[in-house]
């Protein structure tokens, strides 16, 4: 691989950043190594003539139909994979190396300081040069991608380490790490690519890995279904992204970020074109980041192993939509209507998912809906043009949600080990089967409480700072901004923004409620596992709790990266300043060229409200949820009314199935295939013409009676006809 050196004179050109292309390549190498190990051990090439043997060895497969029990993460009964040692070294090793390199690049970038106002673009090779399209495989290092790279490699490393413990006994161990490494590779491509198509490569690549990892235990139909659903839902979004790229290319003639940024100057502010581009981009984001209407795949994605949920479906991949909008800030700031759409969809998703989260019993499902809800928050942030706030929340959310997922992973691991030891087939993820786990796993419980308080918004934990910043930004935009002046579906922008603010508070309230509820049911009250299982409950090994501790610290102090001016003093708004070269201009455009300013009184009021809401939520949950009254899942009564509707996720899946999936399949099968294809085209035209010929032939054969008299008649009549044709001409 050769690298065309970037524009000379760039401050990063001579630093370690030259080797930044190694950052994604390292996980790729890891993928290749692990993938090879996975196949090498599994593969015993078949006989030279496959059809000679094949089917006649019916006695082989007896043990292949292993026991499948929903919720139990299959495979713990199997012996360790022979290559597990190597894999444990390579899998997290490459990530650690990549993280180290990222840190080095980060410091190089910090060292560049003020010189770093233009992104550092390194072109590896030409990708699709044809016609007027010149598309390179090029990486772009700037402050935004730096933040993302740190999150990805950093949290990625932690989760890889956690997985070493979590997946140790799985027969698919090397495969798991191969997929995980591949995921990190694509995620890095996504954030490092210097053009939309390259982002799309990563975009679809992470979708692919998500598909593979959700369906990791593919022997169970539900898991494979969930993976497929995720991929297809994502593809709907990808369609939007493709169209956005076509629009960009057709109108600006380029697809690289820098080209688009330069070309955006020619676009009309608020024009139909830029609005369309942004809306199509946002359609892409709704798919990847699980927003209304494409959010339904994410809860199902919990079918994957828990570290996957933590890495892909909480910390990194699902936030790609947020990254993409921040990356396209220049465009979005030109289209207030699109921005308001983003914010409205985001806040609606936040509220909607939160309501569902209130009534879930599966611990991972609670976290999944919580993720959907928090992603909604991020979209509110980037939607109202507070790109920094959105990215900030992305970051803090990555900390505390990864912690929550990994913590829940520990819990499930403990539950599963206990059930496994006693050969119980109860659901290891159902909170009704847990309870009182605090006593057995104190570290996990403590850490998860930190994360819960963070996500609920209790100061000074990270979630509080970032969520507050988003809400404050929404509030600030209600006056003196392009958004406030725009109208959205006939409603004045400022009204919309007030509505968003109110709904945001509502979502925050519910967040506090369902998170507290989850913690109470899981860790407090009496233990609801059986007598037999109880002695087997224990804290997970250190390889798993270690990463949790690191994440716990990050969740607690992550907020200090971007403290509001009110508290921060000299330490305030570090992230804001850091991202200034990338999104600063776009943010200013939204706020009409001025830094938004709220009076101190207003700011205190906003913070007070937010904190009050969080406290009320926690208190509400504390008083309403009675872990002592809960009974194990098997004995639980059926839900009724609204509870049932919430537990069934507002029946959205069913509605989609009835409204989209079944009609599509039905129409394809009955109308298109059987009707049009087999019936009309093949039946009527193709075979029809054959039958017509056969029919004509039959008619003709009927003329041949074999009687001379008939022939004479025909002959004479023919002669008469011919002569008459001459006569009456």
């Amino acid at each position: 691989m050769h690298t065309d050196l970037p524009p000379t004179g760039h401050p990063l050109a001579d630093t370690v950043a030259r080797f930044a292309w190694l950052i994604p390549v390292l996980p790729l190498l890891g993928f290749l190594a692990n993938g090879f190990l996975s196949l090498h051990a599994a593969a015993t090439p078949g006989p030279a003539d496959p059809s000679a043997g094949g089917n006649h060895h019916g006695d082989h497969g007896g043990h292949a139909a292993a026991h499948h029990d929903h919720g139990h993460e299959d495979g713990h009964h199997a012996e360790r994979h022979p290559a597990a040692g190597f894999v444990s070294l390579i899998g997290p090793g490459v990530l650690l190396a990549a993280f180290g390199l990222t840190i080095a690049v980060f410091f190089a970038m910090r060292g560049a300081g003020e010189g770093m106002h233009a992104p550092f673009v390194m072109t590896l090779f030409q990708w699709m040069p044809t016609g007027s399209l010149s598309l390179d495989v090029a990486f772009q290092l700037d402050q935004l991608s730096m933040v993302m790279m740190l999150i990805i490699t950093g949290i990625g490393t932690l989760i890889h380490l956690f997985s070493v413990g979590y997946m140790q006994d799985d027969p698919g161990y090397p495969r798991f790490f191969a997929y995980l490494n591949l995921f990190v590779f694509f995620m890095l491509i996504l954030v490092m690519g210097a053009s939309y198509p390259l982002m799309f490569v990563g975009w679809e690549g992470v979708g692919l890995c998500s598909y593979l990892l959700i369906g990791f235990w593919f022997s169970e139909q539900a898991n494979a279904d969930a993976g497929k659903k995720a991929f297809i839902m994502n593809r709907i979004g990808d369609f939007g992204m493709l169209v956005a790229m076509f629009l960009l290319f057709a109108n600006l003639g380029t697809l690289s970020y820098e080209g688009v940024r330069a070309g955006a100057a020619e676009l009309v502010f608020g024009g139909a074109l830029v609005t369309a581009i942004c809306l199509f981009l946002f359609l892409g984001a709704t798919g990847k980041s699980a927003q209304i209407p494409l959010f339904v795949w994410l809860p199902d994605a919990m079918a994957g192993p828990t570290p996957v949920s933590a890495l892909i479906h909480a910390a990194t991949m699902v936030t790609a939509g947020v990254y993409m909008i921040a990356r396209s800030a220049t465009l979005f700031s030109l289209a207030p209507v699109a921005q308001l759409t983003v914010a409205v969809v985001g806040v609606l998703t936040a509220v909607f998912a939160a309501t569902i989260g209130l009534k879930q019993w599966d611990i991972k499902k609670v976290l999944a809906y919580s993720t959907v809800s928090q992603l909604g928050y991020m979209f509110v942030g980037v939607g109202v043009g507070a790109y920094t706030a959105g990215v900030f929340h992305l970051m803090t959310h990555a900390f505390f949600k990864a912690l929550l997922f990994l913590g829940s992973g520990s819990v499930i691991y403990a539950m599963h080990c206990a059930y496994h030891a006693t050969h119980n087939y109860a659901d290891a993820q159902d909170m009704r089967n847990m309870g009182g786990l605090k006593a057995f796993m104190p570290v996990t419980a403590t850490l998860m409480w930190i994360a819960t308080l963070a996500i609920a918004g209790i100061p000074p934990l990270s979630g509080f700072v970032s969520k507050d910043e988003i809400l404050a930004a929404v509030f600030a935009r209600t006056h003196h901004s392009t958004l406030a002046e725009a109208t959205w579906l006939g409603i004045p922008g400022s009204v919309v923004l007030y509505g968003i603010y109110a709904l945001g508070l509502a979502a925050a309230l519910m967040t506090a409620v369902y998170m507290t509820r989850m913690m109470l049911y899981t860790f407090h009250g009496p233990n609801r596992t059986g007598e037999a299982e109880r002695p087997h409950l224990a804290e997970a090994p250190w390889i798993m709790t270690g990463p949790l501790v690191v994440l716990g610290i990050l969740s607690a102090v992550g907020g200090f990266v971007n403290l509001p001016k009110l508290f921060g003093g000299g330490m305030a708004e570090i992230l804001h300043h850091w991202l200034e070269p990338v999104v600063g201009e776009a943010t200013l455009q939204v706020t009409l060229g001025e830094t938004p300013h709220l009076s101190h009184a207003t700011e205190y009021a906003l913070i007070g409200t937010a904190v009050a809401i969080a406290v009320i939520g926690i208190a509400l949950a504390w008083t309403r949820c009675k872990p002592a009254a809960l009974v194990p899942a098997a004995e639980a009564p059926a839900e009724v009314g609204l509870e049932k509707t919430l537990a069934n996720k507002w029946y959205v899946d069913e509605a989609y199935d009835r409204a989209v999936v079944q009609p599509t399949l039905g129409v394809s099968r009955t109308v298109l295939w059987k009707g049009l294809d087999t019936g009309v085209i093949d039946g009527l035209f193709v075979n029809g013409s054959a039958y017509l010929m056969r029919g004509l032939g039959w008619v003709g054969s009927q003329l041949q009676t074999g009687r001379v008299g008939t022939y004479a008649w025909v002959l004479v009549l023919g002669a008469v006809a011919i002569l008459s044709a001459f006569s009456f001409r």
Binding site: S701, Q704, T705, G706, R707, V708, G709, Y711, A712, V716
Partner: protein, 97 residues
């Protein structure tokens, strides 16, 4: 008398045609065909008064063919009669494949 000859020829030919169409006896049918041939011969002869002897040569040819046809045709009819005991054309459909 050319016009009259031609008219006569046409009338005889038509009678032959009508005969072919109405009769079912194979032998009579054959005779009708002979009548039609004769009608044509008359045309040839009549026109040979204008165009010379070639027309008459044709008549000789036609007669030869008619003789051959009669010989073979009647032989076939006899053969068929031996098999079917009939010369009614409606009863004979051997031509049907």
């Amino acid at each position: 008398m050319l016009a009259e000859s031609l008219l006569l020829s046409a009338v005889l030919f038509t009678i032959g045609v009508v005969g072919v169409l109405t009769r079912r006896n194979a032998i009579i049918l054959f005779m009708c065909v002979e009548l039609m041939l004769n009608a044509v011969n008359l045309t040839f002869v009549a026109l040979s008064t204008l165009y010379g002897a070639t027309g008459q040569v044709f008549v000789i040819m036609v007669m030869t063919v008619a003789a051959a046809e009669a010989a073979v045709g009647l032989a076939i009819i006899i053969s068929i009669f031996r098999h079917r005991q009939t010369v009614h054309l409606d009863d004979i459909n051997l031509l049907k494949g």
